[in-house]
């Protein structure tokens, strides 16, 4: 009998490995091997879809992507007076043009932005301006959209957590934005954001007395990022709300009753009961959404194409349009590390929070 038991254990283990093999083979082929090859290619000048041998070029790709420099812009000296030249209309000091100040060797730096610091005018230069903008925009997009989604999602979840007629319908309606392909919702919203009064948003804003009905949301740099956030918020807030709603429903009703008996106000119940009980759910929703938002691609590529990049659409255009496989791989590795660091940070934060309780 003991022998039979041992045989069963052995058989089970063998069966388990056999059942796991297909999954792991697939994951090796589509995840681990490609990741390794991206890592290797990032140190080469490999050209996509070309027979040319790639050369090992060390950290050059990373150097071009990540080189940043800050230089001081000296004021232009007026030749007559020997004093800094001043613009006649605005009365502001005229500074040297960044092109003259930023280094050209070994790689040429281009202006990213100018800022004042302790009365000095400084300029930030980068060797690949598009990548630095893409990184900055992606992180801004992530932070803003995730914060808005958590707040709006929590609001909607609280509304849906009370019993009312039509709650079932509302829940189904909430799944619609989530279920629509992002490609489709991006085009729907791009049309609503049209730059004249053929677009709904312009008509709506004008009805409210805002704007002149000619706001160029998609082509004007000032609005582009907020349009991206608006589209993403519409699409993902319902998902967030559903997660938080599921979390809310795990809170036992007796706790609220106990709170009422003790005379706690609604606000007090929310602050001292709902939020702490909901914290694990919020934390997990935050992780999912942040990691998702950092790799945003569809909405940027469809609405803005090459007008403005997210990190993912930067990688895509480097690969497909420029065929720069090595360079695109280096950008991929940076994104991978960035997302990995965020994941670690979150896991630590959540782990820490849980062990404190």
């Amino acid at each position: 009998m003991i022998r039979r038991e041992a045989e069963i254990v052995k058989y089970e283990a063998r069966l388990a490995y056999m059942l796991l093999i297909p999954s792991f083979v697939i994951l090796v082929v589509i995840a681990f091997y490609p990741l390794a090859s991206v890592f290797v290619n990032s140190f080469t000048n490999k050209v996509f879809a070309s027979a040319r041998e790639a050369d090992y070029i060390g950290f050059k790709n990373y150097g071009k992507l990540l080189s940043l420099t800050v230089k001081e812009l000296p004021p232009v000296i007026d030749e007559g007076s020997g004093q800094p030249a001043v613009d006649r209309d605005s009365g502001k000091i005229i500074y040297e043009r960044p092109v003259k100040i930023l280094p050209r060797e070994p790689r040429r730096y281009k202006e990213v932005l100018q800022f004042d610091f302790f009365g000095k005018r400084l300029v930030l230069g980068a060797t690949d301006r598009a990548f630095v903008y893409a990184a900055f925009d992606t992180i801004t997009f992530t932070v803003v959209s995730v914060i808005v989604e958590v707040i709006l999602g929590l609001g909607i979840a609280l509304v849906l957590n009370s019993r009312f007629k039509g709650r079932g319908l509302m829940r189904a309606v909430m799944l619609i934005p989530w279920a629509i392909p992002t490609a489709v919702s991006s085009r729907m919203w791009a049309w609503m954001f049209a730059s004249t009064r053929v677009g709904f948003i312009n008509v709506f804003l004008q009805m409210l007395g805002l704007g002149n009905g000619q706001v160029a949301f998609i082509t004007s740099e000032a609005y582009q990022l907020w349009v991206m956030v608006a589209i993403d918020v519409w699409k993902t807030t319902p998902f967030m709300a559903l997660l938080l709603l599921a979390g809310l429903q795990l809170i036992p009703q007796e706790m609220y009753e106990a709170g009422r008996v003790d005379g706690a106000s609604k606000l007090r119940q929310f602050r001292s009961l709902t939020i702490p009980m909901l914290r694990p759910t919020i934390a997990i929703a935050l992780v999912f959404r942040t990691l998702d938002a950092l790799r945003v691609f569809d909405v940027f590529q469809i609405v803005l194409a090459q007008k403005r990049y997210s990190l993912a659409s930067f990688i895509y255009y480097q690969l497909i349009d420029n065929q720069a496989m090595g360079y695109s791989s280096a950008a991929s590795v940076i994104v991978f590390i960035l997302i990995f660091l965020f994941a670690l940070l979150y896991i630590k934060a959540i782990g820490g929070a849980n062990s404190n309780e």
Partner: protein, 289 residues
């Protein structure tokens, strides 16, 4: 009515107002797409845009179906629907099949390296797809597979880990006594898997299958990249993103909106039928996790 009753009525009024505002916010873009899809080119250019299709001169209600006719005549769109159906159905089937094998092993069998395997698969659910884009495209070209099997294979990247994770949790909940009694009756573990456990897991298969199907139906990055040199394999999201019209010369927004409505309707039907299952699947990983 006393004061208390009045405040109660006001409260519930404000509450329903809030519900209505949320409803409009969620549903309006879709309504706007339907509205635009029923407008002719001239009606689309009317300013200010109208809430229903109106005749440009006498402002009577006058919708048109010409955009829908154009979309159904559009070969690329019909082809895209077919490609999407093939890719999404194959992805779902493959993920469920392979995923439930792995999930059974992880949920019910005893072997070494179990928790390591489980964590590895969990980590995969957070894997950034864009990071492997270049490498994955190279793999697919090296293997010499065309775009459609290439998409099916690469969609395992986000469907398989999720399927394994949810199904493992489900298998764990099934009583081991079922397995043991089958063993006593002389069934091998594999027999007890497909004779006893698999039928019991049908509900979980439906949930994970739906989510895998929707994810595969909606995927855009891989589809766009892998079909860049094979336009006939383009799935619907790619076709809609690159849509050029049959009748209009500039960007044909009426047709795009009609195509958007057509693609969305099956998803809305799925959502209304399987609402509870989808929500259960979406929250399974996050809340109980």
């Amino acid at each position: 009515m006393n004061k208390k009753q009045i405040s109660k009525v006001l409260n519930s009024g404000a509450f329903y107002l809030l519900v209505v505002v949320i409803f409009i916010y969620l549903a309006f873009p879709f309504y706007w797409a339907i509205n635009s899809s029923l407008k002719s080119e001239a009606q689309l250019q009317m300013t200010p845009a109208t809430l229903v299709p109106e005749h440009p001169v006498d402002n009577n209600f006058s919708p048109t179906l010409q955009n829908y006719q154009a979309v159904f005549r559009n070969r690329k769109f019909a082809r895209g629907l077919l490609d999407s159906a093939i890719v999404a159905i194959s992805t779902t089937t493959l993920a469920l099949l392979i995923g439930s094998f792995a999930a059974f092993a992880l949920g019910k069998l005893r072997f070494r390296g179990k928790s390591a395997s489980l964590y590895l698969i969990l980590a995969m659910t957070m894997f950034p797809q864009v990071a492997v884009l270049t490498g994955l495209y190279a793999v697919i070209r090296t293997l010499g597979v065309s775009a459609i099997p290439g998409m099916i294979l690469s969609y395992m990247l986000f469907t398989l880990p999720f399927t394994v994770w949810v199904m493992t949790a489900f298998f764990k909940c099934l009583p081991t006594s079922l397995l043991q009694s089958a063993q006593v009756d002389g069934a091998t573990p594999f027999q007890s898997f497909y004779l006893i456990l698999l039928p019991l897991t049908a509900p979980a298969l439906v949930t994970t299958g739906l989510l895998a199907f929707i994810a595969a139906w909606n995927e855009y990055l891989f589809a766009l990249t892998f079909t860049s040199i094979e336009p006939t394999a383009r799935t619907v999201p790619v076709v809609i993103a690159l849509f050029t019209g049959e009748i209009a010369h500039q960007e044909p927004f009426g047709e795009i909106m009609a195509a958007a409505v057509i693609v969305t309707i099956p998803l809305i039907v799925l959502v209304f039928i399987f609402q509870k299952k989808i929500v259960a699947g979406l929250t399974a990983g996050a809340v109980k996790g």
